[in-house]
Amino acid sequence: MTPPPPTRYVEHVMGMPISLALRGRHTDDASARTAWAAAMAVLQEADRVFSTYRENSCVSRLRRGEVGLEDCPAEVAEVLALGETAERESAGAFSVWLPGPDGRPVLDPSGVVKGWAAERAADHLKALPETDFCLSAGGDVTCATADPDGQPWRIGVEDPADPRRVLAVFPVLSGAVATSGTAHRGAHLVDARTGRAPDGVASVTVVAGSLTWADVDATAAYAHGPEAAHWLESRPGRSGLVVWADGTTSVVQPVLP
């Protein structure tokens, strides 16, 4: 018997679409709708605090030197600490300090915030008993199945050369899939060491236990350009797919313990 298709929800926040698929016991009842509203509230709060587009967000005020870190919610320090760890582990290719127009570093925690916020939002969905969820925040996906031997979610990887087509499929029971590339927004991803867009790579998809790290590692691997696959191989427990600028691909195997 074919299981019923998942129930889907879509809303927009931070200028991007948030899509949710639910299957199992709570898909369309009060519990499901309450969890979805709570998940969206997490993302809206993250937008309010971290947005670099909102003049009055704490991060914008921090950037202008109007407030100190101690004046911002504790989450800001948490995200900046994650950014520092990511910078260290990516040999500087990833940073929340990106070279500005005059070459001086400007605080931009966006590379950490999206995955981190979506993962926190997903905590509300995880709490739904006997329910599988799959949440996408603008193409960064986190999902789980209530039954560890259940039916995996099938996560398609878009073809960077044609974002309406699927290049590969990751079957995922519980975990996160994030992709970095320039298909939709042009060359906005830069190597933090040089401030320039990396060469040779079209997109990097990373599968990891947490969306925070899948997202950070996808961005960091992408910033490594021709070394993207090599660098990703050095990351424990990650697997992934690198699509090169010429359309060829490299699959990165997880490092077995």
Partner: protein, 146 residues
């Protein structure tokens, strides 16, 4: 016979893509290129079980031992073209591995597919903005389920 040959090539392509990028090299592999990677896979093509409906046929290869563990691939051929590929058995060292997210291996399709053919639940891609959403693959998926 032609179909079987096509299937063999497709299977090899998939497994080459799966295992071509092993652990130490990061050479760029065009689909189906490296013949050396084919060797451990050949046993997977020894016998097959297939099921047919209309002009669409699903083939399941034997489980093939690899250095990462057993791998079994299933492909769907429609009108002589490979339309879907799935891995029915993954390398794992214990039962818990199936649930360890980070073990997930991608299955590359020989020709890119639209969302419906690929039978996917979500799309991972470069950040989709709200402006671009209407045109996106994820939007098509969401609408199908709304």
């Amino acid at each position: 016979m032609r179909r079987i040959v096509l299937w063999l090539m497709s299977t090899l392509t998939v497994l080459v893509l799966l295992f071509g990028h092993s652990t130490s090299t990061s050479s760029r592999l065009p689909a189906g290129a490296e013949s050396s990677a084919v060797a451990p896979v050949s046993s997977a093509t020894g016998s097959t079980s297939g099921s047919t409906s209309g002009s669409t046929t699903t083939y399941t290869g034997d489980s093939a031992p690899t250095r990462w563990g057993p791998v079994q691939v299933e492909i769907t051929v429609s009108d002589g073209r490979v339309t879907d590929v799935s891995v029915v058995e993954y390398p794992h060292e214990n039962g818990k591995d199936q649930q360890i997210n980070a073990r997930a291996l991608p299955v590359l399709v020989q020709e890119t597919l639209d969302a419906q053919s690929a039978d996917i639940d979500m799309v991972s891609g470069a950040t989709v903005t709200s402006d671009g959403y209407v045109e996106s693959l994820q939007s098509a998926l969401d609408q199908a389920g709304l």
